[in-house]
Amino acid sequence: MSFLELKNITKIYPNGTKAVDETSLNVEDGEFVVFVGPSGCGKSTLLRMVAGLEDITDGQISLDGKIINDVDPSERDVAMVFQNYALYPHMSVYNNMAYGLKNRGISNDEIKNKVNEAAKLLEIDQLLSRKPSMLSGGQRQRVAMGRAIVRNPKIFLFDEPLSNLDAKLRNQMRLEIKKLQRQMGVTSIFVTHDQTEAMTLGDRIVVINNGIVEQVGTPKEIYSKPNTKFVAEFIGSPQMNLFNCKIENGIVKIDNNQITLDKKLNIENACLGVRPDDIQVNNNGQYRCIANLVEYLGSDMIIYSSMGDQEFSCKLSSKIELKAGDSFNFDILPSSVHIFDNITSNRI
């Protein structure tokens, strides 16, 4: 039995919206799992059901061998970090962290020890007497983390905790969260819409779309073998190029170009996926297109082009001299393509 088990979880809101549909998932002890998906896909709802902030329409959640469907949120032994920090504005940093412990009847000395320990770990021990309004965004985030840590919970729940921070701080906090989680070994679920966060943080990633789990896997699995067209497009930046095409006898036809696949497939309505960095630009390339637009990113650049009426992008080293309007040659290796059935959206 896994540490956290979600069995056929369904959430239907009173207005009839189905936010989560028959989702099952197992999370192992100490694992860092990331829920990723576009906004409104149900990832937060799923997390909030684990926390007990939303009731479960159907299905079963068990944590550490105990079914927690009807257990009060305060007794589930979970700690949550919210997007807008959700600190108690009228309490000092110390009291914000101590509040949950006080309510559990823990002695003052022990509370003091725990809070001080967590504060030291997060480097906020100088701020304990301040009110949240006197803290910066990053400091507030640390306090919110501290409030979760002192509880010593079975599971950490992070609901987009980094999206209110600026880019630099976000990267820094991301690393710290990862480090802390490793150090403490507490099972964690992290919700985000940012695929970079998902890729860098997660031991495993759960890609969710429209209340349905599209794929569960390690970052590498998800990136190299996306199960569906949605996952293929959602993970990876710039996003994967998808060409609508017809495959006959293992030969893909896009506009006037042909790609010969390794397998002899026959699909009427197919979709060929190629990651922008798998398009290899070289002078002897088999295909030739015109660069419509060039985006310079420092070490890399992104070229936007089109084959017939299907647009695509490729990512290459900016050492190559190429301007908008120039034509360029490139190769697509058959081993690097992803093929999807356009009707079911599934990988073939």
Binding site: D72, S74, E75, F82, N84, A86, Y88, P89
Partner: protein, 292 residues
């Protein structure tokens, strides 16, 4: 940014005139008149008046009925503030939880706020009518209710009449205050604290303190001044002068008793009392409030 300067020195007065006139006629003039009255004494027929110094003030301090009105007003505003505040808060907390028909509850609970105090008094009259009054009947069965002879019963009458309408004002401000609290703060506290009651007193209520402070001032001001119409349409101060508020007594002494000097002195005293209470609140209570 460059400011636009008008050359004319008259046009601004022209545009300000309507507002200034209203202030002059309905505010400044009466204030000056009140001060004048407070320090003069008129003869019985109102033909002449002479400077009286502090005689009017000395007179009201020696008047036992003034002390009664003073005590009653303080008690009345304290109880009205307490009752309207706590019932308003209770209703707001409950209405905030309602999922279906939220607006119906809200509208119904806000309605009484739109009713003039005098009309509230007339309505209370029906409820406390000896012949067909619902509340009179209820209380009479419980302990023999008789407001025009029993002081305590009269208190109940004016407190109920005075509170009802003001509960709506408290309700609407508390509801707005509750809705201004971040949802995730409440959710965080749900994970941190099991007891609803404890959570309310440690998180929700402290975050409502700015609203509470505002309402305390509003409620005291209401009980001091706006209950005039209610007293005038319910007990008229009976039994004896036991339920006369300071405003009501000033009105009776000035316009019924035609003792303008005393009424003026009472008005000034009232102003001082409200001033002291407000300063006290800002000095000693406001500092303890957390504003977001």
């Amino acid at each position: 940014m460059k400011k636009v300067q008008f050359k004319s020195t008259y046009s601004q007065y022209f545009f300000l005139a309507p507002q200034l006139l209203i202030l002059l006629i309905f505010l400044y003039w009466p204030i000056i008149q009140t001060f004048k009255d407070a320090f003069t004494m008129q003869d019985a027929f109102g033909f002449s008046s002479q400077f009286a110094g502090f005689d009017n003030f000395l007179f009201i301090f020696s008047d036992p009925s003034y002390l009664t009105a003073f005590k009653f007003t303080i008690m009345y505003s304290f109880i009205i503030t307490l009752i309207t505040g706590s019932i308003g808060l209770l209703l707001a907390v409950q209405a905030n939880k309602v999922m279906h028909g939220k607006n119906v509850y809200k509208t119904l609970l806000i309605w009484p706020y739109a009713i003039a105090p005098a009309v509230v008094g007339v309505m209370a009259n029906y409820f406390f009518s000896e012949r067909y009054g619902l509340l009179h009947h209820l209380f009479n069965n419980l302990w023999g209710f008789n407001w025009y002879e029993d002081v305590f019963d009269a208190y109940i009458y004016v407190i109920i009449a005075g509170s009802w309408k003001q509960i709506s004002a408290n309700f609407i401000f508390f509801l707005a205050g509750l809705q201004a609290i971040q949802k995730t703060v409440i959710e965080a506290s749900i994970i941190d604290c099991k007891s609803n009651i404890r959570r309310f007193w440690t998180i929700t209520f402290p975050l409502l303190m700015p609203t509470t402070f505002f309402l305390i001032i509003i409620n005291i001001t209401y009980a001091f001044f706006d209950t005039f119409g209610i007293i005038d349409t319910t007990t008229i101060g009976a039994p004896g002068s036991e339920t006369k508020t300071l405003v009501y007594k000033a009105y009776i002494d000035g316009f019924k008793g035609l003792d303008l000097g005393s009424a003026g002195a009472q008005s000034i005293m009232m102003m001082l009392i409200v001033l002291v209470i407000t300063i006290f609140q800002f000095r000693y209570i406001e500092g303890k409030i957390h504003y977001n």
